[in-house]
């Protein structure tokens, strides 16, 4: 029997409205409020072992404490599944449902599902991390929402294949998944072109994301005193690529010591990058990672010093999400090491 812990707010627990929104988390054995409908929906397959109730104001105003308290409560029951809400269009409740579902998933490793209206602020924040069933904007939609939420949750806990958002009713999470369509791509493009020309409706297959444009930092005030690091997506690595950074879609970055290295020679360095002709980079890796020039500048006093390590990865086919992750880790180390400026080279 699948064990479920259910999370609801003070309102759905029948404790009160806004005036009771500051109540602390409390744990009740068994079913409360919408848990009744949930129990009916899961039938004999699962059992709601406990319900956690928390005031929406309390949760959002005491985030860290509330999360800690609730996780303790959930942990006690060691459930197979965690369900929160549905929150419909209640903003603070939605954010609470999303937050606690993500925490339960991440910290306890228990699958979690919630439900809310697409315009609930919690939907946008958490749809990538948590399966959120798409519901109506008010509690009148409870009768449709709960069985659908239960169905999706059971699928997830039983590790069954999850269908498309349209098939399984959840809010699109922004996860790209391959599939075969009826027509080849060129035909679909022509169909889309004709629809666009005629002013008819069409659906783009890849909606544009909000593009992350990075504003340049303030200039370094005194470059002659600055410690400068080299970071590259051009794939320069010690000969034979010791950490086997992939030629495309890199799953890691490398950090290499260049203390005393005055020049990147053909014997000692090469590129792991698969997206450009490697001949010239392999002959002289300084072309991509200019250690030689920076050593000269160090000697001439143009720069303070060249940082002892360089960081490298392969940009070719590496997803933006992974690139961001590597950059965040590299930046933290560089700051810790007192680096003031970075020369980023790409290929």
């Amino acid at each position: 029997m699948i064990k479920i812990v259910h999370y609801i707010n003070q309102f759905f627990a029948g404790i009160g409205g806004e005036e009771k929104a500051d109540i602390k988390p409390e744990l009740r054995e068994g079913i409360v409020g919408p848990g009744m409908a949930l129990k009916a929906a899961v039938g004999n397959e699962a059992e709601i072992v406990a319900t956690v109730i928390c005031g929406d104001s309390y949760f959002n105003e005491n985030l860290e404490t509330a999360i800690k308290e609730i996780l303790e409560m959930v942990k006690k029951y060691n459930p197979d599944l965690f369900i929160a809400g549905p929150a419909f269009n209640a903003g603070r409740y939605g954010v609470a449902c999303g937050t606690i579902c993500k925490e339960v998933q991440d910290k306890l490793g228990i699958p979690a599902v919630t439900g809310m209206y697409i315009e609930n602020p919690g939907a946008d924040i958490f749809k990538k991390d948590v399966y959120i069933l798409s519901t109506a904007n008010a509690a009148t939609g409870m009768r449709q929402a709960v069985p659908a939420m239960a169905k999706l949750a059971l699928k997830i806990v039983k590790k069954e294949a999850i269908g498309t958002p349209a098939e399984d009713g959840y809010l699109p999470r922004g996860i790209r998944k391959n599939l075969f369509r009826e027509e080849r791509g060129s035909k679909r493009a022509v169909n889309m072109l004709v629809a666009k020309l005629k002013g008819e409706s069409f659906e783009t297959e890849y909606p544009m994301p909000d593009f992350d444009r990075v504003a340049p930092n303030q200039p370094v005030l005194d470059i002659a005193k600055a410690k400068i690091a080299l970071v590259t997506s051009g794939g320069i690595v010690p000969k034979h690529n010791p950490h086997r950074i992939e030629s495309s879609s890199a799953s890691k970055f490398g950090k290499y010591d260049i203390a005393g290295v005055m020049d990147l020679t053909e014997e000692a360095y090469e590129t792991a990058h698969g997206g450009y002709d490697p001949v010239y980079a392999n002959l002289d890796a300084d072309r991509v990672l200019p250690v030689d020039v920076l050593r000269d500048m160090e000697k001439e006093g143009v720069i303070g010093e060249l940082h002892r390590y360089f960081y490298t990865t392969v940009g070719n086919g590496t997803s933006v999400a992974n690139s961001k992750k590597y950059a965040a880790e590299i930046a933290q180390e560089l700051i810790k090491d007192g680096v003031q400026a970075v020369i980023l080279t790409s290929t």
Binding site: R173, G174, I175, R176, F180, S186, P209, G275, S319
Partner: protein
């Protein structure tokens, strides 16, 4: 310009003592073919094989795939400016060995090149599991530089296709299709009330091993220009690249450009397909600005109402795609884009390296980062060792049992941005 494309359907391929087509079988005289493609002293050995659909055969690392064609009537020959004189092609009659292909393989050139599986799950992703393939394995001399190696093999592949194409010269085609595009002013008169549509054809030109040739000219040195769609069918554009094989256009795909075919389908009904603008994907900002300025200018010059823009490659060329889209849209011309995606193995990342709000009509050929497991094959033509290092592979891609786990990137033509396949991606 009017071209009759005569298709001679090939269902089988065999080595024989005479090169000819008979009852749907392409017979190949091995020695004669060898004579036709040998002579480059940069290559020390050439091996010939045949790979047919359904066989437990893996070809890797694949450099190019080429369809055998022959000009039967009209000026010029196949692959003008390369194997034949630089006559303007695209008119008269051309015969095609439909169902046959030349595939070049051999020692890895760089980190490049792809995989063709003739059966199993991998076969579902590559168009070239459905063709009877004459596979050429070339062994270069020691210490041959990569770009020399690439060039030598490129020419061997083209020569082989040219040689085999001759077998179609005197055969009555099983099917003939006529494609015609009028000179611009006449074309406008023909369908004065239909919206004017063109195809913006982006060619991979990021540098050595990432090159495309137009009438023999390295396309990174061209200014965007206009060509008749039928010129492409006679091999005016050919591939000199095989980097991240999933979304590079082999010469086969250029000759069979599906955007051109599908635009012709509804020409004269829903729109007036007036021609093709070719452009490049160079690496510096100035070059990108210049080329996208020119595509937009040419689109305006032709008084277009809408264009389809296809990309080749990913990352760096994503910026060219967006610049083309933005600048053409800004002229009041509607755009539809064809691309593929690099959304990470989990599909959770942003898919392209650039974005623009004008790109509101996009066709995607799938997420090339998605991981696929290819079963071991009985026969290997080429070498499987590069599985760990080709684009899309990683440490451990080649398993001891001969199976390969890698990103879809490794499969030749899998996420063709010409829209060659049905593969796509959706939001979950």
């Amino acid at each position: 310009m009017r071209l009759e494309l005569g298709k001679v359907f090939i269902k089988d391929m065999q080595f024989s003592d005479q090169t000819m087509v008979k009852d749907g079988t392409l017979y190949i005289n091995k020695q004669e073919l060898l004579n036709a493609i040998s002579g480059d002293d940069r290559i020390q050995h050439i091996e010939l094989d045949i790979a047919k659909p359904g066989e437990a055969t893996r070809i890797m690392p694949v450099k190019d795939v080429i369809e055998p064609r022959v000009k039967v009537e009209g000026p010029g020959g196949i692959f003008p400016g390369v194997l034949n004189k630089a006559d303007v092609v695209g008119s008269g009659k051309t015969n095609v060995l439909k169902g046959a292909a030349v595939v070049t393989t051999g020692k890895i050139v760089g980190f490049q090149e792809g995989i063709i599986d003739m059966s199993g799950i991998g076969a579902e992703y590559t168009p070239f599991s459905k063709t009877c393939n004459l596979v050429i394995t070339c062994t270069p001399i020691d210490k041959l530089q990569q770009h020399e190696h690439e060039q030598a093999i490129r020419f061997i592949g083209l020569k082989a296709a040219n040689y085999l194409g001759e077998a179609a010269r005197n055969v009555n085609p099983d099917e003939t299709k006529v494609y015609e595009t009028l000179p611009f002013a006449e074309g406008i008169k023909q369908y004065p009330d239909l919206p004017k549509v063109a195809y913006v054809y982006m060619l991979q030109t990021q540098g050595l091993l990432h090159d495309t040739y137009v009438y023999g000219v390295d396309a990174k040195k061209i200014i965007p220009t206009i060509i008749y769609p039928t010129e492409v069918m006679d091999g005016a554009i050919l591939s000199g690249n095989c980097v991240s094989a999933c979304d590079k256009n082999p010469t086969y795909n250029h000759c069979n450009n599906p955007v051109i075919e599908d635009l012709y389908e509804r020409h004269g009904k829903d729109y007036n397909f007036v021609g093709v603008i070719i452009t490049n994907e160079n690496i510096t900002l100035m070059e990108k600005e210049r080329s996208s300025n020119w595509t937009a200018k040419l689109a305006e010059f032709l008084s277009l109402d809408a264009v389809i823009i296809s990309e080749e490659g990913f990352g760096n060329p994503d910026t060219d795609l967006m610049m083309n889209c933005k600048k053409i849209s800004a002229k009041g011309i509607k755009t539809v884009l064809i691309t593929d995606e690099y959304a990470g193995r989990d599909g959770a990342s942003q898919s392209l390296a650039d974005a623009d709000k004008a790109a509101d009509a996009v066709v995607t050929a799938g997420n090339a980062n998605e991981v696929i497991e290819l079963p071991a094959m009985k026969k290997i033509i080429g070498y499987t060792e590069p599985a760990d290092t080709i684009a899309g592979g990683f440490a451990g891609s080649l398993r001891p049992d001969g199976s390969i786990v890698a990103e879809l990137q490794v499969i030749t033509g899998a996420t063709s941005e010409l829209g060659f396949n049905k593969l796509s991606a959706a939001q979950l």
